[in-house]
């Protein structure tokens, strides 16, 4: 290949790509050149001088971390001169390093310790006073011991280049340089833990595990994080069945070692003292009585059978969290469909992801992305619509940052938060073109984009020739629309033009779009956009919906929603039914399944008599005005499998203790469709059991044995039931657009709902009694209710605040932390306020994980097509009282 360069490292030839660093070329040969400041994730800085090597024909030693390979270069890493240089540099570094390895948490996995062993410098010629920094309290989660610092600035550079938070800075000069936040303030940042992970010594350590361990004492298990849909590989490090810390090794997994606050500091819910450890059965007096599995399992089988016999299978419904493994989800739906005999089942993917999946199935015939993270990193243009990516899906956000910061990709953002430099990174700060759009108006912005495609004349000519009906009718529909009120036409046109003119582009959509009214139509319309540009089936192009929970994609693919069988096949797909019947040796029930809200309505009306709820908490998740607790309270029999005694579990007749992700094996499927292995790091806590095991045991007693030896056996069956699933691994080929499906859509399928998809959305509603627009969304530090059980995350964010723009706060003459009363048509709430510059004027933001505080305010509207309950926005009034 033309762009390969041949060099010799210690006499061994190697060919590497042009632009490779010498240290990297050596590493590929298995030669580790000692270094501190070099890290493949960040730009070379060559400040530590540790990686000096001899290069033939160069007069002096060179830093291998900043020297690029050149044709014919001969590098020597092990000569006496090099050795001497390494020793001298190490002597300088050790001159100031304390000898506190025995109490340092890094001991045993410390680069400095390793190199010291290698070069055994037992004496030093220095006679001077050691540099000593006053120990200062740094933050509740990250401890700083500056005396150990080797001043390589990896932390500072990582925080800037990779995370884009810029929360750390080297203070002062020379040997007195100290890593600090702002003056003497304690660290306030996004707490990704990156500085702890990238520090080659023990200058930064995790306070949650301070002095708890020595690295070699810990049991490790590589698994996948259970918070968001990014699917980060993490290593659980445990000791005596207590989770001590979570780390992620460099280059491992889809996240290549990067984590966010939730992943790095959010693990302590696993060993939380409130975890359920025994089955609980409600007594006639209303109390819960702990019992044993031996007693509770027959009870469950008996009661479910009773309800079936008395009212029919249709009187039983099931609901499961999309945080479970694929195996849990699969066994759950099989249990519901066979042991119970009902298609009334749904999962948390109903809260928004179904919108995107339904759109993808319809237009491109896939139920998953046609792109991968690599396509995001390698794109030269990214369009983000309603993602809030740096908070909701931080690691997918890092892929976007990498594309923009490292490869110079253009970033177009249509987001609810405006650019503002604050303590956590904000993707809008990196935008080439940004449009601030209130949550709920993203679908209108999508209309504007499509209109701009025609107005800018960037639609694909080929498509216009081959599918003139589709193009003409779409043109007519969007041309009839005005540019959305309050959105700058020029900005929309710039975004459309830039995206159309790029070489490879990916559209990312997220919660703000998918969990708001019009989410389904907007997803279809965005696929129209890709079609009209002629890009939908092009390599590297595609729509990438991000998921809030770790296995929403899996929930859909396992058939754990009302609309689909395993493989996301429609319930009326005869071929799928036959395939499933032959694998299950019994036919799945016919008839449409009730979705989440339908089931609650049926429970309220008395049609549904029993429910099995696995890890889901509708009593909390749905707004109080929808009265979910009242509906569940009418059930004759409610079984809840849970980690904690949640609001929903408190309504149950039987509560079963479930194992957390850290205690079970199986697989998760992330947003991009990677099926990744989940490995147990701990034994199940107390009497808790993985969800599938519980259901399997009940099924046996009900006479429909769904028996599996372990999770791997379930996966084997899943592979038999879902065509093509076998090939999905950690890095599958992204799905391809299904031509026949696309042709069907373009050939006429598009027309079904053309009018409703391109209907002018209502203009900004001005309601003088409720002048503010409140939006309940995910914050960086929490995810659902589970994260509020994690001590570390509570240290960062312990309560919900009503965030508003600082200018609004000032106008209202409010101080941070002051209480205000909110009122809406549904009710009122009292909450403290906070300032956040990225919230636009007139908008209020409240973190979803603490929404109990505002439960009374919210109302809900279900999606007419996909049944998604929209409940994250509300017009409110703010009263200073």
């Amino acid at each position: 290949m033309a762009d390969m360069v041949n060099i010799l490292v210690d006499g061994t030839p190697i060919a590497v790509e042009k632009g490779t660093l010498v240290i990297e070329a050596a590493r590929r040969l298995g030669i580790m050149i000692p270094h501190f400041c070099y890290h493949p994730k960040i730009k070379p800085d060559a400040n530590c001088r540790m990686c000096l090597v001899e290069v033939e024909k160069m007069p002096k030693l060179q830093t291998s971390c900043s020297t690029l390979v050149a044709e014919g270069m001969a590098v020597r890493t092990n000569t006496a001169v090099v050795e001497e240089a390494h020793k001298s540099v190490l002597e300088f570094i050790l001159a100031n390093h304390p000898l506190d390895c025995p109490i340092c948490d890094q001991g045993g996995r410390c680069d400095l310790q390793d190199f010291s062993h290698r070069y055994t410098p037992t004496k030093s010629d220095f006679l001077d006073v050691k540099r000593v920094f006053q120990k200062e309290y740094f933050s509740p989660l990250i401890d700083k011991e500056m005396n150990r610092c080797v001043q390589c600035l990896r932390c500072v550079r990582y925080c800037d280049e990779v995370i884009d938070a810029k929360a750390l800075a080297p203070i002062g000069r020379g040997s007195r340089t100290e890593i600090s936040h702002f003056t003497s303030h304690q660290l306030d940042c996004e707490f990704c833990g990156g500085c702890v992970q990238i520090c080659p010594v023990g200058a930064f350590t995790n306070r949650l595990s301070d002095y708890e361990f020595r690295p070699w004492m810990m049991k490790r298990a590589d698994t996948v994080c259970g918070y968001c849909g990014d699917g980060c590989t993490i290593t659980l490090q445990s000791r005596e069945d207590e989770l001590i810390e979570v780390i992620s090794s460099f280059e491992k997994g889809r996240n290549s070692g990067d984590l966010c606050a939730r992943g790095y500091f959010g693990y302590q819910f696993v060993n939380h003292p409130d975890r359920l450890t025994m089955p609980l059965v409600r007594q006639p007096d209303g109390r819960f009585e702990p019992t044993t599995w031996e007693d509770v399992l027959p009870l469950l089988a008996e009661r479910f059978t009773q309800v079936k016999l008395a009212y029919g299978s249709e009187a039983v419904g099931g609901l499961i969290t999309s945080r479970g493994t694929n195996e849990d989800l699969y066994v759950f739906q099989k249990f519901m469909r066979l042991a119970i005999g009902s298609n009334h089942l749904d999962s948390a993917a109903r809260f928004g992801h179904v919108n995107a999946v339904e759109a993808m199935r319809r237009v491109q015939g896939t139920n998953r992305w046609t792109v991968s993270y690599e396509d995001i990193v390698n794109a030269d243009c990214l369009l983000l619509i309603g993602t809030q990516i740096t908070w909701t899906n931080p690691i997918a956000g890092l892929k976007v940052k990498e594309a923009v910061k490292k490869h110079g990709a253009k970033l177009l953002t249509i987001e609810a938060m405006q650019p503002s430099i604050e303590t956590t990174s904000n993707i809008a700060n990196l935008s080439t073109t940004h449009l601030t759009v209130e949550v709920g108006r993203h679908p209108a912005a999508v209309h504007g984009l499509l209109k701009a495609v025609f107005d800018e004349g960037v639609a694909d000519n080929h498509l216009a020739a081959t599918a003139s009906g589709y193009v003409d009718r779409t043109r007519a529909a969007v041309s009839a629309l005005p540019y959305p009120e309050g959105m700058d036409e020029a900005t929309l046109r710039t975004i459309a033009r830039t995206f159309a003119g790029s070489r490879r582009g990916v559209i990312l959509i997220g919660q703000d779009l998918l969990q708001s009214p019009g989410g389904y139509e907007a997803s279809v319309n965005l696929m129209d956009l890709l079609l009209l540009l002629g890009k939908l089936s092009e390599k590297g192009w595609g729509l990438a919906p991000l998921t809030e929970e770790n296995n929403e994609q899996g929930a859909i693919e396992m058939g754990a929603t009302a609309d689909y069988f395993p493989g996301a096949a429609s319930l009326d797909d005869a071929a799928a039914r036959t395939r499933i019947a032959s694998a299950w040796k019994e036919s799945p029930p016919v008839g449409a399944g009730m979705r989440m809200l339908d089931m609650l309505e049926a429970a309220r009306s008395g049609k549904l008599k029993a429910m099995l709820i696995v890890g889901e908490n509708p009593a909390r998740t749905l707004p109080a005005s929808a009265k979910p607790a009242e509906a569940l309270g009418r059930l004759e029999f409610l079984v809840v499998q849970e980690l904690f005694l949640t609001e929903t579990a408190k309504l149950a007749h039987v509560v079963l203790p479930a194992s957390s992700y850290a205690e079970k094996s199986g697989s998760f499927t992330n947003s991009e469709g990677c099926v990744q292995k989940v490995r147990a790091g701990l034994e199940p806590l107390g009497g808790s059991r993985p969800d599938w095991e519980i259901l399997s045991a009940v099924s046996v007693l009900m006479g429909y044995p769904l028996e599996y030896g372990d999770a791997a056996e379930i996966l084997k069956e899943i592979r038999a039931v879902i065509p093509g699933y076998r090939v999905l691994g950690a890095t599958p080929e992204p799905a391809r657009v299904d031509r026949p499906a696309m042709d069907r859509y373009v050939g006429g399928g598009f027309a079904e709902d053309m009018a409703s998809r391109y209907r002018a959305t209502s203009n900004i509603t001005q309601d003088s009694s409720y002048p503010w627009s409140l939006w309940v969304g995910q914050s960086l530090f929490h995810s659902g209710k589970l994260s509020t059980m994690a001590k570390g995350l509570l240290e960062i964010q312990k309560e919900g605040r009503l965030y508003m723009n600082p200018a609004d706060l000032q106008r209202m003459q409010l101080a941070e932390g002051e209480m205000v009363t909110l009122t809406s048509v549904a009710g009122e709430a009292r909450v403290p306020v906070g300032a956040l510059g990225r919230i636009p004027r007139g908008i209020l933001f409240f973190p979803e994980s603490f929404k109990e505080a505002i439960a009374g305010l919210l109302t809900m509207t279900p999606d007419a097509v996909t049944g998604v309950p929209y409940h994250k926005q509300q017009r409110v009034a703010v009263h200073k009282t």
């Binding site: 800075a169 203070i171 002062g172 000069r173 600090s180 702002f182 430099i421």
Partner: protein, 183 residues
Amino acid sequence: MLIEPYKDRIAEILGRYPEKRAALLPLLWLAQETQGYVSEEAMREIAGLLDLTPPQVFETVTFYSMYNLRPIGRFHIQVCRSLMCALVGAENLLSWIDAKLGLKTGGTTPDRMFSLHQVECLASCGTGPMMQINDEYYERLTQAKVNRILDDLRRDGKSDLASGPFMFPEPSNKSSESSCRTN
């Protein structure tokens, strides 16, 4: 508040550079000039103006010794302690200042009039011992000259013994200098 009262000057400084970030040092100067030191609030405001984070501004302030992070006296005395001045008695200079004001390196007089720091070479090696007070140089110092300078400053806010930062070639008018020597 830095931004409100100095809008025009800030606009002028920002207008000088193609990149916002380049205005960091001049804006820090502006803050120091108007407040006597660079306050936390000023750093936050400047960060906001330049799309930087406060830690990034703090980093820059600590790199340069001429920015003060704490309030200092009205007159900031900086005594050169590099080799040339040391050879001709920079240490004496420190003791003269101490004798006159009771002021040690790093300190500020109780009336917040004078602060004293030692600094590296101020590029006036031919005319040591020397010191810089605020933006003025005072060179070829003797105890009598130091006393007079400090008295002048306390009384009038200025002293005519200031010799300006660039003294080469030396001024041809020797009269002022000889008068000093005879003092």
